[in-house]
């Protein structure tokens, strides 16, 4: 909406001036700025205007930053009480996803899964989760051939720990609009497994079956490194 108004304002101004001040030839022009070769012309400025269109965009971007703050917190929510998805679920516990006042999915708890990437295939691991919460397998998508499948339950939230076994990849959950790099070798603290990146997958009622693509260029078969997310009730 802001983009639309900025565009309309700018283009109306441009359109108006382009035609209003058009001249077939400049013969009758009075040359108010005394433009002549070898002479630095008279200054054509207005401090009030210049300050106005310095401050106005600044206020606009501060407001935009503020507006973007909430979704920033949502997509990289912390774990624990301060986050949107609480602590890791106990055995048998459900996330009970619901929408808050901002339209953000909040959960009572989350389930942990793992995603491993290597040239040019995804591997999904549900760890110890029961199959009604998370399941994996493979499926044949006509154009991509046989691809790995991740089946997640509506109303549950998942935190995917991700890593790569070779180069950088990035799963793009197309229908959810999220992606994050999987890094090879990046390490945060000493750990048996290095899980340097994570992605939240809150499965709400609007999430449907979707294709997972790789969006960080990884070589020959990058464009067909696909997977499939299936949402079950």
């Amino acid at each position: 909406m802001i983009s639309f108004f900025v565009s309309v304002f700018t283009f109306t101004w441009l359109y108006h001036h382009s035609f209003w001040y058009r001249s077939e030839d400049a013969d009758g022009y009075k040359n108010p700025d005394e433009i002549a070769v070898g002479v630095f012309p008279k200054h054509n400025d207005d401090m009030r205007l210049e300050v106005a269109w310095t401050i106005a965009p600044f206020i606009l971007i501060v407001w935009l930053t503020y507006v973007s703050w909430v979704p920033l917190d949502a997509v990289w929510s912390e774990t624990g009480e301060d986050g949107y998805h609480g602590e890791e679920c106990e055995e048998g516990q459900s996330s009970n996803n619901r929408l808050d006042d901002y339209g953000i999915v909040t959960s009572e708890c989350y389930h942990v899964i793992e995603i491993t990437a290597k040239q040019w295939v995804w591997a999904f691991d549900c760890l110890d989760l029961p199959t009604e919460i998370c399941d994996t397998g493979s499926d044949n998508i006509e154009v991509y051939g046989t691809v790995p499948l991740l089946s997640l339950k509506t109303g549950e939230t998942y935190l995917a720990n991700m890593r790569s076994e070779d180069v950088t990849h990035a799963p793009w959950f197309l229908g959810m609009g999220v992606k994050e790099d999987t890094l090879y070798g990046a390490q945060i603290g000493p750990s048996e497994y290095n899980w340097p990146t994570t992605v939240w997958l809150p499965i709400s009622s609007v999430v449907d079956d979707q294709i997972i693509l790789c969006t960080e260029y990884c070589g020959d078969a990058h464009s067909v490194m696909a997977g499939k997310l299936v949402v079950h009730q």
Binding site: S23, P32, F40, S68, T215, G219
Partner: protein, 773 residues
């Protein structure tokens, strides 16, 4: 040539030769990596004639959509007195669909099948091929390997492992022409362009003096160009090289668009596509945009500041001649089928991995030369602008194009060393086995991302800021007004330069960055909109009260204002991180940066060409052809890039060699409408590409019989309009330099209330007194 010069030349030649040949290039048997072309490297690197593969059951000419049962088999292999030969296979077909007939065969995709684990000890396999529904020349590539048959190692075991390759072709019902290899198409087009360029140069030489069109005159003429240190001639060399590579990058873009015109297209293989987009990006940024900037800067900066030449003319010539050598290295890999396939960003660890093509080493070496060239150029322009301004020209009286070159070179000077260091690290990793980016040895791939984007994001502004300078010059001259807010324009450019260094993190939002840093980067990235907004509003206000005379350069400037504004607005979606998570690495990004770099930088260059060509050549360009170029170019450009925003939102990922749409039969990543839009984009791309030939034709026509240009055809004020068209050499008499006067010196200037307030805040009492006196 004296002995000292000869020695120096020999040493330089030896160094250049060493640089070219030192990276060890490993060739695969057929030049291209991948099972389809070179076989599985787990079975050794070379083929063996002992193994004889065969395919039976294939027709000479297929019927549409008919299924054929075919048998692939082999005989021969490593000799063993007690065991028969056994092995596996891989079969690839260019068209139609391969399906396994039993459990010994598995399908990787419709075009490729191989043996299963259970089928890894056979000599023949049965499968089904369904022929295409249209007329295509179909190619089969079969690889079989053979061992001597005893997997447990007894009686000689499977110690011998040999493989061989077989290709077979099946014709369609209606004969069609063979498809040309895309690399052959690219090489042919580059060659044709180079020959046309050579003919054009010869023709220019002929027109210069028809009576002296002989080798005896041509040799010193061409030698004069090759050894020149004159800023105008070096500028022309940059300009010609930049336009040539703009064409080469454009040809690659067209081939990319052919590939993406329809879903699932196979005009380019994945392997070829990866090389094409890598070289397209590298060519456009480093071999087209940068040389074009340097071309205009070489020509105009000394003229605008009233200097006879650049401060360091020989260094200037060296800066230029590093570029063609760098270009040669960058493209070297292509001619061995192993061109760089890393993307212009060359992310680690892929760039140092074994799966990256061998040509990547050459590509890195070439870019190191371009870094050296840019660094030397930066030194030269900063020195020239600092010490060679004409008498009377203070810092805040320089033309805005000169200011833009100053800011761009300062940014480049501060950012490009990081890129150079990164490139040298990658080069050493690839050539002598250091481990800067080798994760298993403790290397850090994210270091490359930091070094690259610390340079890469300012680089975007390095190529756009000179276009700002051009637009400022053209719009003021076209409106016959002084630029509105000269000082705020200078501060805005400097502001963009400063902010550009603290925003690069937005390229790494999805790389595991800490949320706190993400917030800071989000804010700083959005901050770029402030100085950019000032510039756009100042340009618009410059027209206020003016007398806008429409020329071709005016049209391109107004076109720039439209497209750059749209590009700036689409850029505001990325710092908003929740949006970025979806749009990152999608076609929305492709649309955005082409709106900024083509709609901004290239449109700025077009304005500059139409504005300064009369000064450079002494001839007026044809306005009718210019307007035609603008109308066709502007419309086709927007038709080309605007729909890409939509494709990105739908989920079309960049750097994917193909895409699939969802139909009733199959699930794809994109809605079916995406196919139509991609075709529309490809057609628009061709129109845009060919529209630029109108400008080239206009230039050639003008050089031959264009109207002679006066010294100041548009009514500009800066020093370049004081000289003849074209200017003499040296551009100004060193003993009689021009002196700039200032129309503001004797004008009563009563500031308004806010101005007084800001003057009080920003100007000290002493300075005020000094000015008053």
């Amino acid at each position: 040539m004296n002995k000292k010069s000869m020695r120096t030349l020999l040493v330089l030649s030896a160094i250049a030769m060493a640089l070219i040949i030192s990276p060890a290039a490993v060739s695969y048997p057929t030049g291209i990596q991948g099972v389809k072309d070179s076989g599985c490297n787990c079975h050794g690197a070379t083929t063996s004639s002992e193994v004889v593969p065969s395919i039976t059951g294939l027709p000479d000419q297929y019927n549409y959509s008919e299924s054929y049962e075919i048998v692939v088999s082999f005989v021969g292999g490593p000799a063993s007195p007690t065991n028969s030969n056994q092995g596996g296979f891989n079969l690839w077909v260019s068209d139609g669909e391969l399906l396994p007939s039993d459990a010994t065969v598995q399908s990787y995709n419709p075009n490729e099948v191989s043996h299963t684990e259970a089928g890894n000890d056979q000599t023949s396999w049965t499968l089904t091929w369904t022929s295409p529904s249209s007329d295509r020349n179909v190619e089969f590539i079969l690889h079989t390997n053979s061992v001597n048959g005893n997997a447990d190692g007894a009686n000689g075991g499977s110690s011998g492992d040999m493989w061989n390759k077989l290709t077979a072709k099946v014709s369609p019902p209606v004969l069609v022409l063979e498809e040309a290899d895309p690399f052959v198409v690219l090489s042919t087009l580059i060659l044709v362009s180079a020959i046309l360029l050579a003919f054009t140069l010869a023709y220019v030489f002929y027109r210069t003096n028809p009576e002296s069109f002989t080798w005896d005159y041509f040799a010193p003429w061409i030698a004069g160009w090759l050894t020149t240190t004159d800023h105008k001639k070096v500028g022309t060399l940059y300009f010609v090289a930049g336009l040539f590579f703009l064409g080469v990058g454009g040809i690659m873009a067209m081939m990319i668009r052919i590939q993406l015109a329809v879903p699932g297209n196979d005009f380019l293989t994945q392997d070829q596509y990866n090389q094409f987009f890598t070289l397209h990006g590298t060519t456009m940024i480093f071999l087209a945009a940068m040389p074009l900037i340097n071309g205009f800067a070489n020509w105009m900066v000394p003229l605008q500041i009233g200097a006879p030449d650049l401060a360091l003319p020989r260094l200037n010539a060296m800066s230029f001649w590093l570029q063609p050598v760098g270009a040669l290295l960058i493209f070297t890999g292509v001619f061995s089928g192993q061109g760089a396939d890393t993307g212009w960003t060359g992310y680690a660890p892929y760039v140092v991995s074994e799966t990256a093509h061998m040509g990547t080493t050459m590509w890195v070496a070439g870019q190191i030369m371009l870094v050296a060239s840019s660094t030397l150029t930066g030194i030269n322009f900063l020195t020239t602008i600092a010490v060679m301004r004409a008498p009377g020209m203070g810092w805040l009286q320089m033309p805005l194009f000169t200011w833009s070159i100053l800011v761009a070179n300062l940014m480049l000077f501060l950012s490009i060393p990081a890129f150079g260091i990164g490139l040298i690290q990658v080069y050493l990793d690839r050539v002598i086995g250091t481990a800067f980016y080798d994760v298993s040895a403790g290397g850090d791939p994210l270091l490359w991302s930091h070094l690259f984007w610390y340079f890469g994001h300012p680089e975007v502004y390095v190529v756009i800021v000179p276009a700002f300078g051009v637009i400022s010059e053209v719009i003021a001259t076209s409106a016959r007004r002084s630029i509105f807010g000269y000082r705020s324009m200078v501060y805005a450019m400097a502001g963009i330069g400063v902010v550009s260094f603290i925003v690069y993190g937005h390229h790494m939002f999805t790389s595991g960055m800490s949320p706190t840093l993400r917030f800071v980067t989000m804010l700083t990235t959005m901050l770029v909109a402030v100085p950019t907004g000032i510039k756009i509003f100042n340009w618009l206000k410059t027209m206020h009260g003016g007398s806008l005379v429409y020329r071709t350069h005016t049209l391109w400037t107004l076109g720039f204002l439209v497209t750059f504004t749209l590009g700036g607005i689409s850029g505001m979606f990325f710092p908003s991180i929740a949006m970025d998570l979806h749009l990152h690495e999608s076609y929305f990004v492709v649309a955005h940066f082409h709106y900024v770099l083509v709609g901004g930088t290239v449109f700025g260059f077009y304005a500059a060409i139409y504005y300064w060509f009369p000064k450079m050549s002494g001839r007026m360009l044809d306005e009718k052809l210019g307007v035609l170029h603008f109308l066709v170019g502007f419309i086709s450009y927007n038709a080309l890039f605007w729909p890409m925003h939509r494709l990105g939102v739908w989920g079309m990922a960049r750097r994917h060699h193909t895409y699939f749409v969802t139909t009733e039969e199959a699930m794809g990543a994109l809605p079916i409408e995406a196919a139509g839009w991609n075709m529309f984009i490809s057609v628009s791309a061709f129109i845009f590409f060919f529209s630029n030939l109108i400008m080239v034709a206009n230039m050639i026509k003008t050089l031959i019989r264009g109207e002679k240009a006066p010294p100041d055809p548009w009514g500009g004020w800066s020093f370049e309009w004081m000289t003849e068209s074209p200017p003499p050499t040296p551009s100004f008499d060193p003993h009689n330099l021009p002196v700039l006067t200032d129309a503001n010196e004797h004008i009563a200037n009563e500031p308004g209330t806010l101005s007084k307030l800001f003057n009080r805040l920003m100007v000290s009492e002493e300075d005020t007194e000094e000015v008053t006196h």
